[in-house]
């Protein structure tokens, strides 16, 4: 036992835990327990993911033929807008910090809860409120601006722009408060002996994420308020018809939304550090390099927003500077991949479901990261900008990266969260289906894009049909993979074997308490004498 104190053995199932400690719906809605709040985030974000995924499958189905297949152009435009908005604002941004971060971060620190438990509950309520506003557009006329709300289109189109931007504005506060909570928790609530360099790397990643959430999200909030005022009061900031500047909106929007890409990927990277080390039973390679690269990504990530606008109205000088800075941000991501690779070296790799997802992540994120180099090159971007190449690139990073890391983390901590073991065979099957389906769907789109297929096209040239059909069939395989996964996890709740406290042999603190943990996590506040990745024999 590396990290927890040697003289307090892990309490096996004590009878009461955080799930059965209190009963009734109100005990959930009014809880301040970070684990219960985490579970509610988990359920909510997974519902959002299912909804966003449904839109994705409908979009792919529509693209089966060059003209109309199942819906008209207006519906298609609303479907891709909602797919993007739901996946970004209701799933990817809140999922890892809100669900997994909330659940494991305080336990990893040896704390009883986050620093501000009530604020934590408020974050969840703000998330629900924002989600209601965003989704209400479904029944009240739809939104067809794309998730990026570019003006002047968004200032003039009919549709629920104000409602959705208000929803996203509220979601922003949820995100800011979670970030604030995590930063204070990491600073103030570390158990005795948990020094900064004994923090699990997921904590470093969530810390870096929180910094970005706090600093960048207000800019999005202000931008959306200005957009609402533009629509309602016609004040003329962005709309050229009123004397405004549409390119200014893009600067504001990406000043948040590029750092937001790191809000999405950094926590996923943190999960991968945990999974690879634990399931290879090996001390993480390059702990400090991984920790500092998270901070480097968070900081440089603020300075690259202009690479979304190389061919927009931005000056060539600005484009040059942004291209340069964009290449710099590739370096810390590369450092992480190389260190994960060396963590496998002389490890003892067990092909559990979480590890299979982590290895899938390595494969997909490497492709996602490398294809970013194409997009960063100014002349190449001129050709592939706003084509399916970019669609494929960001799906490899966001879905192949973050989503795969999220489901890997879900399988890694599922026994801890629920006290149940799922079936490893079905777990491996679901991973294989998602991996194969994903590459079929999205690698095809690199080819479509480089050959000149623009994104957000309802009709397309006949020559692109075979590739589109291949991509659509791939999306069905992904869908099947997620159905198998959902079945496997849900079935474990009723018929899964009871999870031991430490099913994977992990060394960080969450594995040194019962599965599921008791309400305040530990019987006795742990005293920590070793790092979280110390697998050396004397600590077995």
């Amino acid at each position: 036992m590396a990290q927890a104190v040697a003289d307090s053995p892990i309490p096996e199932q004590s009878g009461t835990n955080y799930i059965n400690a209190q009963k009734g719906i109100l005990s959930w809605l009014l809880t301040v327990d970070h684990k219960r709040i985490g579970l509610m985030y988990l359920a909510s974000t997974i519902i959002a993911f299912a909804l966003g995924g449904f839109f994705a499958l409908m979009l792919r189905l529509e693209l089966l033929t060059p003209k109309r297949t199942i819906m008209d152009a207006a519906t298609y435009n609303q479907a891709f807008t909602l797919h993007g908005a739901v996946m970004v604002f209701l799933f990817i941004i809140p999922a890892v910090p809100g669900a997994i971060g909330n659940f494991v971060l305080p336990i990893m620190l040896g704390a009883k809860d986050v620093a501000f438990p009530k604020l934590n509950l408020l974050s969840l309520y703000l998330y629900w409120t924002g989600a209601l506003f965003t989704l209400s557009s479904l029944v009240t006329g739809g939104l067809d601006t794309g998730w990026t709300f570019y003006v002047p289109y968004s200032a003039t189109t009919g549709g629920a722009v104000v409602k959705v931007t208000l929803g996203v504005f509220i979601l922003g506060f949820s995100s800011i408060l979670t970030g604030l909570n995590f930063i204070v928790t990491v600073h103030k609530l570390r158990a005795p002996g948990v020094s900064w360099f004994r923090l699990p790397l997921l904590v470093w990643a969530l810390y870096a994420t929180s910094v970005v959430q706090i600093l960048a999200t207000p800019v999005l909030g202000i931008t959306l308020v200005l957009l609402m005022m533009e629509r309602v009061l016609h004040i003329g900031i962005f709309d050229p018809a009123l004397g405004g500047d549409p390119v200014l909106f893009q600067h504001f929007f990406w000043f948040y939304s590029h750092p937001a890409v790191y809000i999405m990927i950094l926590p996923g990277m943190g999960i991968i550090s945990e999974i690879i080390s634990v399931h290879a039973k090996r001390r993480i390679f390059g702990y400090k390099a991984i920790a500092f690269s998270s901070m480097a990504i968070a900081l440089i990530g603020f300075l690259v927003w202009g690479h979304h606008m190389f061919v927009a109205g931005q000056s060539h000088m600005a484009a040059t500077i942004f291209s340069f800075l964009t290449f710099l941000v590739a370096i810390p991501s590369g450092v992480k991949v190389f260190n994960w690779l060396l963590t496998l070296w002389r490890g003892s790799i067990k092909y559990t479901t979480p590890m299979l997802f982590a290895l899938s992540f390595m494969f997909l994120f490497t492709i996602g990261g490398l294809t970013g180099l194409f997009c960063g090159m100014l002349s190449v971007d001129m050709h592939i900008h706003d084509t399916y190449f970019v669609v494929a690139h960001f799906h490899y990073v966001m879905m192949g990266g973050t989503v795969i890391a999220f489901v890997g983390g879900l399988h890694h901590w599922w026994p801890k969260m629920t006290g149940k073991m799922y079936g490893e065979k079905l777990g491996a099957l679901s991973c294989a289906l998602v991996f194969i389906g994903f590459n079929a769907t999205f690698f095809t789109q690199f080819i479509l894009g480089s050959r000149g297929m623009p994104r957000r096209y309802y009709n397309y040239l006949d020559q692109f049909q075979p590739l589109h059909q291949f991509s659509t069939v791939g999306s069905w395989v992904i869908g099947l993979g997620f159905i198998v996964m959902a079945y496997n996890l849900l079935a474990s709740l009723t018929s899964g074997a009871r999870a031991p406290a430490n099913p994977w042999g992990g060394k960080s603190l969450e594995w040194q308490t019962a599965s599921p943990p008791i309400t305040e996590n530990f019987e006795v506040t742990p005293k920590v004498t070793h790092g979280p990745y110390d697998f050396s024999p004397e600590h077995q």
Partner: protein, 326 residues
């Protein structure tokens, strides 16, 4: 020409000409530079992909767990490795940056002897205006082997000018001018695509780029590009196709962005202010020239204004054509 029952007469169905496996044929003087950059970055990526994934697969095989008592390495850092895999990629990406910058700068500065064409984007129509006043909707005719500079602006939302074979793209923005240039190297027909989302007709906002020999270009430019000696309805059919009216107005009665033209002439139409108007010649003329003067109930006022682009005899021809849509 359009068959009367065509639902969506899209201006251009020119295929994109395939070049290599990845890229379309290169048909501008800028394209080889872009393709060169593409090839460099692609091989860099292939190298790193094989390195990372190859190593990963090897480790996955070599260090598979044999027993639960496996002892794993305790080596947890190497300053040399960290420096190496920070510095080497840094040098490589800086090289990529400069390669990309060179091609980009070439596209930014047009040669001083460029032929200038005004480009207007609006939902969902490209219009090209030549220095002698010739107006060409949905068809950009350019001479081969001469640099051509596009001075572009939008009348409504943001659009983007993209010709895959030329490897150029630039947003077309309301309230300001953007520009881009190219020199086509091979005669033929290519497709111009709008690549900034602009609403329902976004994917139909195509145009044909026709590269012709310089002499043919000169002849075309002088003729103004239209044959006036044909029956008005026939000429109207051509104008209907040329201006891409069919993107929003069907001829078979089906509902699109705008009202269908089937059986429209002399019908009573209800406007969005509740008034009922007979669709006679005067109504049609006003609706073509100043479309937002009267808007049919249930539709948005999104049609372009044609008062500055269509001449009287062209409007006459269009009305004659609409009368035929029974």
């Amino acid at each position: 020409m359009i068959a009367p029952d065509t639902a969506a007469p899209v201006a251009s169905q020119e295929p994109i000409h395939q070049g290599s496996f990845w890229l379309p044929k290169a048909v501008s003087t800028l394209a080889p530079g872009v393709d060169n950059a593409w090839n460099i970055v692609m091989w860099v990526c292939v190298f790193f992909f094989v390195l990372v994934i190859g190593t990963m697969l090897y480790f996955m095989w070599k260090y598979k767990r044999r027993s639960e008592n496996d002892v794993t390495s305790n080596i947890d850092h190497s300053a040399r490795l960290e420096i190496a895999w920070t510095l080497l990629p840094l040098i490589i990406v800086m090289a990529l940056f400069f390669v990309g910058l060179t091609g980009f700068m070439n596209s930014a500065v047009a040669p001083s002897d460029s032929f200038e064409i005004q480009v207007t984007g609006e939902r969902w129509l490209w219009t090209f205006i030549y220095p002698n006043g010739t107006i060409s909707p949905t068809k950009l005719i350019v001479p081969k082997g001469k640099p051509v500079r596009m001075v572009m602006s939008s009348k409504d939302v943001i659009h983007s000018f993209f010709v895959p074979e030329f490897r150029i793209k630039r947003d077309v923005i309301p309230g300001q001018y953007t520009s881009i240039w190219f020199e086509a190297t091979e005669a033929g027909k290519y497709t111009l695509e709008c690549t900034e989302y602009c609403g329902q007709g976004h994917s139909d906002m195509l145009a044909t780029v026709e590269v012709v020999e310089p002499e043919a270009f000169k002849q075309w430019l002088e003729s103004g590009g239209e044959d006036k000696n044909m029956p008005p309805a026939k000429r109207g059919e051509g104008l209907f196709a040329k201006w891409q009216c069919g993107t929003c107005h069907s001829l078979d009665g089906s509902r699109k962005v705008g009202p269908s033209l089937k059986g429209l002439f002399n019908r009573d139409e209800t406007m969005n202010d509740g008034k009922v108007v007979k669709a006679d010649e005067n109504y049609l003329r006003e609706s073509i020239l100043v479309s937002n003067a009267k808007v049919v109930k249930g539709y948005e006022p999104v049609m372009p204004l044609f008062k500055d682009t269509l001449k009287d005899d062209q409007v006459d021809a269009l009305i004659a054509y609409i009368k035929e849509q029974k």
